[in-house]
Subunit: 111 residues, 2 copies
Amino acid sequence: MGAGAKSKQKGVACPVETTLRVIGGRWKVLIIHFLLTGTMRFGELTRSLGGISARTLSKQLRELEADGVVARKDFGEIPPKVEYSLTPLGKTLEPVLRSMEAWGVVVERRR
Amino acid sequence: MGAGAKSKQKGVACPVETTLRVIGGRWKVLIIHFLLTGTMRFGELTRSLGGISARTLSKQLRELEADGVVARKDFGEIPPKVEYSLTPLGKTLEPVLRSMEAWGVVVERRR
DNA sequence: CGGGATCCCGGATGATACTG
DNA sequence: CAGTATCATCCGGGATCCCG
């Protein structure tokens, strides 16, 4: 995966790798982190993430949507309004992120 | 990575991303998975992982070592003998992998 | 056996310009 | 506002060859 992302479904039947494939993208855990606090619009996410390009955000959101983690709601208005939120499955990622966060804190303290 | 793996230390002070940076490599969770069962030699890992190149295995092991997750023991013999194992810190990754595995299982069942 | 040195490619991401 | 299209770039990782 270049950075990280890993979008291949190479025979590897390891569930841990499956998870990594889903949340391994450069910005995905951040996106999920923010959506855990509630629904957000595209522009809000762009500003919150700080530094992500529209092209990349769009792509990562669509991948998360394809994996059933994120729900996209298009209001079909002009000007456009689109809201993103976590699906029930997406919300079940919270304990995973928390355990990763806890470990990351320990590692960071180590230096 | 290709991205995937994320080796940048960009200001991002998010612990979750720190964890992802450490275990996000193409083979790292697999390596850790095997080392959780005990000490292994370079060749053993190569065969167990199946398909990894020596260059990449060497590199990922050194990165894990630099992050304090893996310990390397060189016996300084001829022919060479090197053993790899998890450090105490490395072993604390087990609950993280388990939560990722549990989620991965659910997702895989979803299709 | 356990790597290091090189060469190389594809995918991931950014920058920029444009649009409904 | 929320994207898409296109071009440019960067980097992880594979393939191959070589060595102590």
